[in-house]
């Protein structure tokens, strides 16, 4: 009985504090597992559905996070039985919300001019930035499982200054808020394994 109470208290705490360490790691772990289970085609489909939903329902150059969350909720409502869809959608939507801050305006303008599919072009550009971030993660000395390492890396990384000169923008990832760093790495780690 005592154990049950303790477990309930723990669950209640995690629910009440989604940004406590254990809750963060658990969320990242669920997102990783779901994205891996989806496979390459499933991830692409989820990304496409969410992007199309955001374009249709959040008509703004920088959509509001609240509107994007609504899109995530409605997309996941139609996808019963695909693991923790909300966690995976959270990663995709956080990446989409951060895209315009991670890729400078000049590069985005160039993509608009030269690419027939802007979304695919910016995804490819973001993938190269995520790869740079993943290289930093590979060099990061931290134990634990993947989700825990990603969480710790992203917490520590934003405590250092990462400034990028305009000339090195393509080979440098600036300071990233924890959620942006974590979402980028979860998406890259899950997707990279599928590509190997």
């Amino acid at each position: 009985m005592k154990w049950l109470l303790a477990l309930l208290a723990c669950v209640a705490t995690v629910h009440a504090e989604p940004y406590a360490h254990d809750a963060r790691v658990a969320h990242l772990g669920r997102a990783l597992a779901t994205l891996r289970a989806l496979g390459a085609a499933g991830r692409q489909q989820l990304d496409h559905d969410l992007h199309a939903g955001v374009r249709a329902r959040c008509p703004s150059a920088t959509p509001a996070a609240s509107c994007m969350a609504e899109v995530g909720r409605s997309v996941c409502a139609t996808r019963a039985g695909t693991g923790d869809c909300a966690a995976a959608a959270d990663v995709v939507l956080a990446n989409e919300h951060a895209a315009s801050d991670l890729v400078d305006e000049a590069t985005r303008m160039r993509m608009v001019r030269t690419s027939s599919d802007y979304h695919a072009a910016i995804n490819a550009e973001l993938w190269t930035r995520y790869a740079l971030l993943a290289a930093e993660l590979a060099l990061f000395e931290g134990g634990g499982d993947e989700a825990a390492r990603i969480d710790r890396f992203c917490v520590e990384r934003d405590r250092q200054v990462h400034r990028c000169d305009p000339g090195t923008a393509k080979t440098c990832v600036p300071n990233l808020a924890w959620q942006r760093c974590a979402a980028a790495l979860v998406w890259f780690v899950a997707g990279h394994e599928g590509r190997r």
Binding site: H15, E17, P18, Y19, A20, H21, A23, R24, H27, S60, A61, T62, A64, A65, S66, M68, A69, G72, R73, A86, A89, D90, V91, L93, A94, H97, A98, D101, V155, D158, R159, Q160, V161, N175, A177, W178, Q179, R180, A182, A183
Partner: protein, 536 residues
């Protein structure tokens, strides 16, 4: 045995003839085109050189060294009997020597070379361009440009049908489709070259006249009395500024600070002097502020003075935010009385003297005054300035007070000016109710200190109009389902401009995007503060 002289002459002759033949020097065609001057020079050189060498070689006398064969092998024999030495006849030896020098002269004295040698005396007699004024060379008249070819007619769209109708006689004129020639740009007229006035000796000017002219030019406008008087005046001026010059050197040698900024804080020293600091000395400020954490994980037990010192270090000395101030110019006076600034205003010299701040402040003010004097000296002597204009006194010396008093309301800054050694110095004071280490406490400290030092409130990071419109308040997303997305509004919710509620949630301490907001805040602060300060 054969004499060495004969062998040497024969070898020289063979070598010279061989080289001459190989290089075409003895080509008959060459002789046919040889000028009279060259032929004379060759003959003169060959006969003179041959005669000279022949005279000194004494071909009629037998060599003192000879080459002999001993057992089938050649060997040199010294001082042989003269009757046993066989030599070429003297006439042949002389003839061979003349031939050798003739080959040399043939190779050297070509028609062009002889002509140039012959012209040397004339060139030597010509007056030097460095010493004499020469006639300016006649300007080269550029050949008239060839008339430009007729530019091709400019075709205009839609004129093909009109032209065809005109050619067939259906239209009387081409109208607006008549051929138009592009106007060729006119060639620019060559700019007339300014002619320099020549003050050197004229070609027809006698030397005595030239010498007198130079002497006149040298002494014109300068009387010896005036020159001596000017030197005496300059010396007297330098003597008048001797104290300033020596004092400036003294400041440089003794290491007087380049600026002196003082902060009195009514908080205890976070680094009380330990017994070993008496032996090893205090840690230099550069080491203290070298590796400041971006946003330390403080607790409620963290001393307020540690928070204050960290925030001051971030604002002024952390290199991560760009150009920092020099920490050696700043002194923090811990455990100061709450009314420190009031007492400074009442009697500056007395309070600053009691706090050991007066010597450094006076040193900086004196150093500045000496620099001003040295610039005045350069002005009076008419010399070029070697020192930059020193910053105003209030830029190199400042006084601030931080009073933490729980009775105080919102952080408020007050200021006044004091006069010390004839210079006006700014005194600023900030009163704040507390310095909290947790939640949004450090943000309050940053804002209060930036206001004290910079004097201007923070207006937020530079943003485009569209960025400002699209911000959304934090907490607008359901966190349970989308915790990553829910944090996105925090990226643009600047706690330094008021959005501090998220900082009070302890669970957000790890994931709050401090760096972005802190960088913008410190960068904006330094843009305001550093131009107000200077160094000598």
């Amino acid at each position: 045995m054969i004499g060495i002289k004969s062998i040497a002459v024969a070898a020289l002759a063979a070598g010279a003839f061989g080289l001459a033949l190989a290089n075409g020097v003895l080509d008959p065609e060459r002789f046919a085109h040889l000028s009279a001057q060259s032929a004379f020079a060759i003959g003169l050189f060959a006969s003179a050189a041959g005669a000279l060498v022949g005279w000194s070689a004494r071909p009629a006398v037998a060599s003192r060294i000879a080459l002999a064969l001993h057992g089938g092998r050649p060997a040199l024999v010294g001082e042989p009997a003269p009757e046993r030495v066989r030599e070429l006849p003297p006439v042949v030896q002389r003839g061979l020597l003349v031939g050798v020098f003739a080959c040399l002269a043939l190779a050297t004295f070509s028609n062009e070379a002889t002509a140039r040698i012959a012209a040397v005396p004339d060139e030597l007699a010509e007056p030097s361009r460095a010493e004499y004024c020469h006639e300016a060379p006649a300007p080269v008249v550029a050949a008239a440009p060839a008339p430009a070819p007729e530019p091709p007619p400019v075709d205009e769209a839609g004129c093909a049908l009109v032209k065809r109708a005109f050619k067939l006689g259906y239209a009387k004129s081409l109208g607006s489709c008549a051929p138009k020639a592009a106007v060729a740009p006119k060639p620019a007229a060559p700019a007339a070259a300014a002619r320099e006035v020549c003050t050197r000796r004229q070609l027809d000017e006698p030397f005595a006249h030239f010498a007198w002219r130079r002497l006149e030019e040298t002494v014109a406008g300068a009387s010896p009395v005036d020159a001596a008087s000017a030197r005496v005046d300059a010396f007297q001026t330098r003597v008048e500024f001797t104290r300033d010059l020596l004092a400036d050197i003294g400041h440089a040698i003794t290491g007087t600070p380049h600026a002196s900024h003082h902060l009195w804080v009514n908080l205890p020293d976070p680094h009380p002097r330990s017994w070993h600091s008496w032996l090893t000395g205090e840690e230099p400020c550069t080491g203290l502020f070298e590796h400041l954490a971006l946003w330390p994980r403080w607790t409620a037990a963290t001393p307020a003075s540690a928070v204050f010192e960290h925030v001051l270090g971030q604002l002024l000395f952390a290199t991560r935010f760009g150009t920092p101030a020099s920490c050696s110019d700043y002194t923090i006076h811990w455990n100061a009385p709450a009314d420190a600034c009031a007492r400074i205003s009442a009697d500056p010299a007395a309070f600053l003297g009691d706090s050991d701040a007066l010597p450094t402040i006076r040193g900086v003010l004196d150093r500045r005054a000496r620099q001003v004097a040295i610039r005045r000296l350069a002005d009076e002597l008419g010399d070029a300035q070697t020192l930059p204009i020193p910053p105003p006194a209030r830029a190199v010396v400042s006084i601030g007070c931080v009073v933490v008093d729980e009775r105080a309301g919102r952080p408020a800054v007050s200021g006044r000016d004091i006069t010390l050694d004839g210079e006006s110095i700014a005194v600023r004071e900030v009163k704040m109710p507390a310095i909290r280490a947790t939640g949004a406490g450090p943000v309050d400290t940053y804002v209060a200190l930036a206001l004290l030092l910079g004097g201007k409130p923070y207006a937020g990071p530079a943003q485009t109009g569209s960025e400002r419109v699209l911000r959304e308040p934090p907490g607008s997303v359901d966190e349970a389902a989308f915790p990553l997305l829910a944090l996105e509004p925090l990226v643009h919710a600047d706690p330094f401009t008021g959005a501090r509620a998220p900082l009070d949630r302890a669970e957000l301490a790890d994931v709050f995007p401090y760096e972005q907001h802190l960088f913008a805040f410190v960068d904006a602060f330094r843009r305001v503060y550093l131009p107000q300060r200077g160094r000598l």
